[in-house]
């Protein structure tokens, strides 16, 4: 199977690999997938608590090249988006951008799940403290 150029690029030059401290204020962490399924993604967002904008995002992925590329792309897209905007990222956007073949669609689904999980974690941690931000 040949990989699309964009998958190869993200694999060779993954954007935003790394971790934030889980308990840092404004950080939301999503850990999805399972080792026995062959892919696990950890995706983290760092939200500016005053503006509600995602200022930084990081990932680590155990999985195939397409899984790595999907999560790398997701972190790129998350940066600069508000929490609400981020929730609108769909797996099909990732499929189209990376030209993923049908057998790799689950990688994009996992990336979307990771985004949602990170957002949910952020919201849960900041439900009391940062609730006013979302309503403005």
């Amino acid at each position: 199977m040949a990989y699309s150029e964009k998958v190869v690029d993200h694999y060779n030059n993954p954007r935003n690999v790394g971790s934030f401290g889980k308990d840092t204020p404004g950080v939301g962490t999503g850990l999805v997938g399972a080792p026995e399924c062959g892919d696990v993604m950890k995706l983290q967002i760092k939200v500016n608590l005053e503006t509600g904008v995602i200022e930084d995002a990081k990932f680590k992925t155990f999985g195939c090249g397409s899984a790595i590329a999907s999560s790398s792309l997701a972190t790129e897209w998350l940066k600069g988006k508000t929490v609400d905007e981020a929730a609108k990222i769909k797996n099909t956007d990732i499929v189209n951008e990376l030209k993923l073949p049908p057998v790799k669609i689950h990688c994009s689904v996992l990336a979307e799940d990771a985004i949602k999980a990170a957002l949910a974690d952020y919201k849960e941690k900041n439900a009391s403290a940062a609730a006013p931000v979302a309503s403005k």
């Binding site: 997938g33 062959g38 950890k42 155990f62 999985g63 195939c64 689950h106």
Partner: protein
């Protein structure tokens, strides 16, 4: 010597034709084009003589008494199909039970699955963690309805060589026909169908530097005489067991490849095993939590199979594939999207099946290639571990088994 890319270390998937094999084949495409079943003119006689000579070389390689015991097929898959389905149909009145193992290659497993759908019963004997099949497990599985025992000679993923002689002895004792899928073993490890009590043996040319498109099934003629129902009906070629015009150039190539394998096996195995051991040392001495799959002392000389914890196999191959051809037991590299059932059957976690990489070396690999592939593998594993959430968790001292994973 300068390295030439890409480097091929996937010799258990296929091998390049040896130039000597190609040379032997060439005349049979053009001037010596006869049909071996044309009994009444020199073109036919020439072709028949060539095919019989090839049969003789194959017979010598596996210790068959009579070259006529070899039936040419289109490859290993067809040979396995013919052996299993041929016995099942022919001996249906005697019984309906087959004993095989969980680590057979796909052809073996899938034929058995089909036979089960047709009303046969199949016992899949488990494998021990070291890759060996316990002969006693086979003994326990045998019933008075068992008509066939089918156990692979050497495994395609982990290279483990089974105790075929002991299984052959058991089969003789019980009066059951014994088939071995020797596609990975022929030409790589000494085989003697007489001493080992083998009744049926499947093999293929393209794994021993011969051409793709030809294989053979050894069918014992004496003690016992094994009979098979054919897969195809037609001209009754190959003693009625495999109708169809023989691909003479391919048969000649197979014969030449067998001859070279026999002449060079001892020296070549020693050389390849040394390269393989070096590759293993280079990698295992630099990478922690890398696990060798299969029993080290009963392995094909060219086989090295390692599971690298915390990294997924396809991503490893992707990091190397511009320069090195390897294979993996990861789901993403398989047509079924399931991880290696062989590695999983060893009792390893499914994660380690996804993380397995097979290096399979061959006649033309060099010291320089081994050093290069070893170093590059180490680099890629390190890079991917830096990117792996599992590695990070493990380094934090968290047992991955205690995490509740949310599978999609």
């Amino acid at each position: 010597m300068a390295l030439k890319f890409p480097i091929f270390m996937d010799a258990q998937s296929t091998t390049p034709c040896d130039p000597r094999v190609v040379e032997a084949m060439l005349p049979y495409f053009t001037e010596k084009f006869g049909h071996p079943a044309s009994r009444n003119h020199p073109f036919g006689w020439e072709a028949e003589a060539a095919v019989d000579a090839a049969r003789g070389k194959l017979a010598r390689l596996i210790g068959a008494r009579d070259p006529k015991e070899l039936v040419f097929t289109s490859g290993g898959t067809e040979a396995i199909n013919l052996a299993l389905k041929g016995v099942a149909e022919m001996y249906r009145e005697k019984g309906n039970h087959i004993v095989t193992t969980v680590i057979e290659q796909r052809a073996g497993i899938d034929v058995c699955k089909r036979l089960e759908r047709q009303g046969y019963e199949v016992t899949y004997v488990p494998v021990q963690p070291d890759g060996l099949i316990d002969v006693e497990e086979i003994r326990k599985a045998v019933t008075d309805k068992t008509i066939l025992i089918s156990v692979m000679f050497a495994n395609n993923e982990i290279g483990t060589i089974q105790d075929i002689a002991a299984i052959g002895k058991l089969a003789k004792e019980k009066g059951i026909i014994f088939h071995t899928d020797a596609t990975q073993a022929v030409g790589k490890t000494p085989i003697d169908v007489e001493a080992m009590g083998i009744d049926l043996l499947s093999c293929t040319a393209h794994l021993i530097y011969g051409p793709k498109g030809v294989g053979a099934l050894y069918v014992r003629r004496k003690g016992p005489r094994v009979r098979l129902a054919p897969l195809f009906d037609g001209g009754g070629h190959e003693r009625g067991m495999r109708s169809g015009t023989l691909p003479v150039p391919l048969c000649v190539g197979f014969g030449r490849a067998a001859e070279i394998a026999q002449e060079s096996m001892a020296a070549e195995n020693a050389r390849i095993a040394k390269l393989r051991d070096r590759l293993q040392d280079v990698i295992l001495s630099s990478v922690d939590e890398a696990f060798l799959n299969g029993r080290p002392d009963r392995r094909l000389a060219g086989n090295l199979n390692i599971s690298f914890a915390y990294v997924e196999g396809e991503s490893v191959l992707m990091g190397l594939n511009k320069e090195t051809a390897l294979s993996s037991g990861s789901a993403c590299t398989s047509s079924t999207l399931e991880p290696s059932y062989v590695i999983a059957a060893l009792g390893a976690s499914a994660e380690l099946a996804h993380s397995s990489i097979r290096f399979s070396l061959h006649r033309f690999n060099t010291d320089e290639e081994v050093e290069y592939v070893g170093q590059r593998t180490i680099e890629v594993i390190k890079r991917l571990r830096e990117m792996s959430p599992l590695y990070e968790l493990a380094k934090e001292g968290i047992d991955l088994k205690t995490i509740k994973w949310k599978a999609e």
